[in-house]
């Protein structure tokens, strides 16, 4: 089959003869991929920042498709069903899954305990092949996959596998109260969605900080929020203090993660020398911009070692930090309703529809922010027919 093949940092290619996946557990399903996305966190893999990312792996944790085969114990799905597949692989029976922490499943990733299994996200997340391929193995088929509601646009459905739930949960973890000022660092797909969703919780003011003008323009229009370029406002922390009557934001959201720009020290030590788990610039700014007693919500992805952040200020300001991988399955019923009712329009953030065979170009365009790229999706040949 055709599949994306990681060859090393900044190098991927399309394989045309990768063996098709097979049922390896009675609750597996094999899904023919119809749409898959490249996620901003795939770029951390692409840039070689995530340990245990082995050449030969296929990335892709955001995908939808058609079930073509199911294992012997699968009862909820049958061949022919069209499903959206949450990026987290969850067993549904461990203590964490029972408490709806589906992003923290303890039975899907032998190689680490801190993170549950994730499709196509290195061996640190379980060593599963991902959906940037024609076919993919989906474990726990009775637990994660959700049948796509009839009439739902596939482009909307594929963004419900990660982008919308992660953006929504970022806002949810902020415990936003009516009238709150919410500051979001990062105008990538997740930051854009977090801005949009912050209004659903009653935010009184939503501010997005980034350095790419085209993304700031996009988020201003898409999420009806304020957006500022940190390269033109001076010290972002001081700017935000002034913008909030020197009080600080009620809620700050880090939607950037380990490849943040804006600090030479963080960039050199985190992204170039790998002396820390990526650059923590956005986290730094968020801690210093939130009010005393405020809430910091983190959905940006960081590596497993450590980062330079002002933890003393977290203590002195009494900040509550909330963070997690999105629990997609928990959120799906609510988010499907938001999409169907028109409160969220996910597909509007898709800027590039690229054939799977051109995956190397797709990664470069997204990574280098070429052609005003916000969200690229990959379409396998069988889905184009």
């Amino acid at each position: 089959m055709i599949a994306m093949n990681y060859r090393g940092p900044f190098r991927v290619r399309t394989d045309r003869n990768k063996p098709e996946p097979r049922i390896e557990h009675p609750n597996d399903a094999i899904v023919r991929v119809i749409r898959s996305c490249i996620c901003g966190s795939d770029l951390h893999l692409y840039h070689g920042l995530v340990p245990d990312t082995r050449p030969g792996s296929t990335f892709g944790h955001e995908f939808i498709g058609e079930v073509i085969e199911v294992g012997g114990s699968v009862v909820k799905l049958k061949p022919g069903d069209h499903v959206l597949v949450p990026f987290n692989i969850a067993c549904g029976t461990c203590s964490f899954c029972k408490q709806q922490l589906f992003g923290n499943c303890h039975e899907s990733n032998p190689e680490a305990t801190a993170v549950g299994g994730i499709f196509g996200y290195s061996h640190t997340a379980g060593g599963f092949d991902g959906g940037q391929a024609e076919y993919v193995r989906v474990p726990f088929a009775d637990v994660g996959p959700e049948i796509i509601p009839s009439g739902m646009d596939p482009d909307d459905a594929v963004l419900l596998t990660d982008v919308v739930p992660t953006g929504y949960q970022a806002a949810e973890m902020g415990s936003i109260k009516k009238g709150d000022t919410v500051v979001i660092f990062g105008a990538g797909p997740i930051g854009i969605m977090a801005a949009k969703c912050s209004w659903l919780f009653g935010a009184g003011r939503v501010i997005v900080i980034d350095h790419l003008e085209y993304r700031l323009d996009f988020v201003r229009n898409y999420a009806q929020c304020e957006a500022y370029n940190f390269r033109s406002i001076g010290d972002p922390v001081l700017f935000l203090k002034k913008a909030t009557d020197f009080y600080g934001a009620d809620v700050c959201i880090d939607a950037v993660g380990c490849e943040a720009a804006g600090s030479a020290l963080q960039t050199i030590t985190g992204r170039k020398m790998l002396l820390q788990a990526g650059s923590a610039t956005a986290l730094h700014w968020a801690i210093n911009s939130v009010k005393k007693g405020g809430i910091l919500s983190i959905v940006g992805v960081y590596g497993p070692t450590g980062n330079l952040i002002p933890i003393g200020n977290v203590v002195n300001k009494g900040i509550t930090i909330r963070a997690n991988q999105a629990s997609v399955k928990r959120l799906l019923p609510k988010l499907i309703d938001h999409v169907q009712s028109g409160r969220i329009d996910p597909k509007a953030i898709i800027t590039h529809r690229i054939p799977l065979e051109e995956v190397a170009d797709a990664y470069h365009i997204f990574s280098a922010k070429r052609d005003y790229c916000i969200k690229p999706i990959l379409i396998p040949p069988s889905a184009r027919a």
Partner: protein, 168 residues
């Protein structure tokens, strides 16, 4: 939970402010008390282990399912096996894994050539897209890089010439 109330009944007011509604992570976590069961939950059928799968030493057993892509092999595999002797809280775990990743890039390149496949590095790096969308920048960067390499080569050549003259 019933046992806990019995166990702490001698402490006046024990647990009075701890209903699940005040779970700090609510509504992200629907507290059920299952945490107190630890890992003693009912597991589904075990996926057969047919390939080498490295397991975190912070786990008592193999997980119910796991990915089977790219089992450890070669020098990088040896390093990975060593790394898994250390816990996830240790640099001894993560830094060797990054080293193994880099070594496996070379191993994969050698395998490609052995199999008669010569990777198109220009294409794999997506430079066709760079040429399409950032042609001027690409030309500028190439000129700068070539210039720097040429300058470095000239400096090294001159130093060697001077050293040779001094030794004469």
């Amino acid at each position: 939970m019933e046992n806990s109330e019995e166990r702490f009944k001698h402490i006046k007011g024990w647990g009075i402010d701890a209903p699940s509604l005040y779970e700090l992570t609510y509504p992200m976590k629907h507290y059920t008390g299952d945490d107190h069961q630890r890992l003693n939950y009912e597991r589904t059928e075990q996926q057969p282990v047919n390939d080498e799968i490295l397991v975190s030493n912070e786990r008592p057993r193999m997980t119910t399912v796991f990915g089977t892509t790219v089992p450890p092999s070669g020098l990088s595999g040896k390093i990975r096996r060593k790394a898994f002797k250390y816990s996830e809280g240790s640099y001894g775990h993560w830094l060797p894994l990054i080293l193994a990743d880099r070594i496996q890039v070379i191993e994969a390149l050698i395998d490609d050539v052995k199999n008669g496949y010569f990777p198109n590095l220009f294409k794999e790096r997506g430079l066709a897209a760079e040429w399409k969308y950032n042609r001027n920048g690409m030309i500028r960067n190439t000129i700068i890089r070539v210039g720097l390499i040429a300058a470095a080569a000239i400096i090294i050549a001159k130093r060697k010439t001077v050293q040779a003259q001094n030794s004469d």
